[in-house]
């Protein structure tokens, strides 16, 4: 949200123990860190990685839902879905801008996505074969995203926190939109209900995986918690999501595909079955059903748009030259 010129990448900064302690003290006092502030290189790197991944997830996330914009079943749904996918693009834009305050350009981040170096949420590597998938994405995927994103509004890095406040404000219609679609199907014909149940069966486990590896296996978690980039652990958020979602499924008569799911009186939480982490890692590493298609679609848009971006810049250069010439002529 500030220019490249405004973000001093503090190369000469020496990270003495005193500096690191003072930085941690600022975080502990709940002070926000702003773009120009001195910060440990690792803090900057962690944020660039996380915000970049988050932005990429929004952008790639436009594709599975965009798959149904042209086939939405009525005009009301069509308008809502288009507005929603558009919002995802906006969220990607806010997040890229937040990452740019740390001294990385959008072009760089885009290239890292396209060459496979940067990751994005692996949930978007699953396909959307039916209209019910659009409902399920809104209900579960956006629901899980909200669980993740609400605490990020209090993230220690100012630009990220501000971007997330904006995102969360806009996202509030997304989950409701999805749930309304699923509810309509669940209360519709037998065929529609089956379509909804089938989609729930396919999206349930990948949604739980969205919170990332278990706390015991999560490499970045501890330091991120200490820096208040993260406020809750992966497992805490996953539990919150399960607890909230079970009731919503019951309400519309759909069955969550987990035989081990049951209320635990003692913990006052739902217990749930084991997540297939092999599947998770397979999809993260590129083995999901849609990994190739997603990156190919982004690459196509980027490559085929190059001449447009170049033309706009060429025109801008011409304007500046003409203005300069006119000024010279006037003098």
């Amino acid at each position: 949200m500030y220019s490249q010129g405004l973000t001093g990448e503090q190369s000469e900064l020496e990270e003495t123990p005193e500096f690191l302690a003072a930085f941690q003290a600022r975080i502990d006092r709940e002070e926000k860190i702003e773009p120009n502030d001195p910060m440990p290189a690792a803090y900057r790197k962690t944020l660039i990685r996380q915000i970049g991944q988050h932005a990429h997830s929004e952008i790639v996330g436009m594709l599975p839902e965009g798959n149904w914009i042209t086939r939405a079943p009525n005009l009301r749904r069509k308008a809502a879905l288009l507005a929603k996918v558009q919002d995802e693009g906006g969220h990607g834009l806010y997040l890229y801008a937040a990452a740019e305050t740390l001294g990385v350009s959008r072009e760089q981040m885009t290239e890292e996505l396209l060459c496979g170096k940067a990751k994005y949420s692996s949930i978007f590597n699953y396909p959307t074969p039916t209209w019910a998938d659009i409902g399920l994405i809104g209900w579960l995927v956006d629901g899980a995203a909200i669980m993740n994103q609400v605490p990020l509004c209090r993230c220690s890095y100012g630009p990220y926190s501000r971007a997330m406040i904006r995102v969360c404000k806009e996202e509030s219609f997304h989950q409701r939109q999805g749930y309304e679609i699923v509810r309509t199907l669940a209360e519709g014909s037998a065929e529609q209900k089956e379509m909804a149940q089938d989609a729930l069966n396919r999206w349930w486990w990948p949604s739980l995986m969205m919170f990332g590896p278990s706390d015991s296996d999560s490499v970045n978690s501890d330091q991120s918690m200490k820096w208040k980039i993260k406020r809750f652990t992966n497992d805490e958020l996953r539990q919150k999501f399960v607890d909230a979602t079970v009731v919503q499924a019951e309400k519309i008569g759909l069955t969550i595909p987990d035989p081990d799911l049951k209320w635990n009186e003692e913990r006052e939480h739902y217990d749930f079955g084991a997540i297939d982490w092999e599947e998770f890692w397979r999809v993260v590493k590129g083995g999901g059903p849609m990994n190739r298609d997603r990156i190919a679609a982004r690459k196509k848009a980027w490559d085929e748009g190059a001449w447009v971006r170049e033309a706009a810049l060429a025109h801008a250069r011409k304007r500046l030259e003409r203005e300069a010439a006119a000024k010279e002529a006037a003098e």
Binding site: G188, R309, A312
Partner: protein, 252 residues
């Protein structure tokens, strides 16, 4: 109600133009040349789809047979659609898409301005809102046509190709069907020939800055107003109407 049948026809024709063009624009969402444009094109598409919904709903109310906006959009065939051919043309590249938008918006702006002052109150109220939306479309598409026309050599060549490909479809904007003639006589909509000058002024203004020339068209293309479409409309509708055709009569 016989006296309404012409107005219903006009509303559906206009609705078709807006729905089809909105649908075409929406195909860009997630695939635009830059992220900012991934937001701009859906904004225009949402304006157009919103206008189509108003127009169809009004037609449905006048008809009084219990049909809805969705019946008009999803349950009519290719031969029953009345949109002009230009709006159904495939998106092509960004130059084609922006030029098509400019051609259409430059026509609709003076059209809606006159409808807003016309004799049908309900349509006039939709027009008043549409004028603001379409004014922005003229600006947005016009600025892009200028940038591509006066950008790189490559973009200028693409822009000229787009003009050659799409200009033959502009004549149809100015055709008048029988029902339109009645609506013109009643002062509901303007006679397109009276807004041709306005349209030309906008196009010339943009083309001058974009170093583009208005071509001589040997063979103008039309037929959409009579339901005779190019081959691309059938494919567009098979996608648009897929759910309603595959699962008839259900609520979504």
């Amino acid at each position: 109600m016989a006296s309404n049948s012409e107005l219903i026809d006009v509303l559906v024709t206009l609705g078709d133009d807006h729905l089809i063009l909105g649908h075409r624009l929406s195909q860009w969402c997630g695939h635009a040349p830059m992220l900012e444009e991934d937001l701009s094109m859906p904004n225009m598409a949402l304006d157009l789809i919103g206008q189509a919904r108003n127009l169809y709903s009004y037609a449905a109310d006048l008809e009084g047979r219990g049909r809805t906006e969705d019946d008009f959009a999803y349950l009519r065939s290719d031969r029953e659609y009345r949109n002009c051919l230009m709006v159904e043309r495939p998106n092509g590249d960004f130059a084609h898409t922006m030029l098509r938008q400019l051609y259409f918006a430059a026509f609709m702006k003076p059209f809606w301005e006159r409808v807003a002052a016309g004799s049908d109150d309900r349509l006039a109220s939709y027009a008043a809102k549409a004028v603001k939306e379409v004014s922005y479309h003229v600006r947005h598409a016009g600025e892009w046509v200028v940038r591509l026309g006066d950008g790189t050599e490559h973009s200028a060549a693409r822009m000229r190709e787009a003009v050659d490909a799409l200009h033959p479809y502009t004549d149809e904007l100015f055709t008048v069907t029988q029902p339109m003639r009645k609506a013109i006589e009643k002062g509901i909509i303007p006679d397109p020939k009276d807004i041709k000058d306005d349209w030309m002024v906008t196009i010339n203004l943009v083309f001058n800055q974009a170093f583009l020339a208005v071509p001589e068209v040997a063979f103008p293309q039309q037929g959409g107003r009579e339901g005779l479409h190019t081959e691309s409309l059938g494919h567009l509708l098979s996608e648009l109407q897929y759910m309603q055709r595959a699962y008839p009569g259900l609520s979504w």
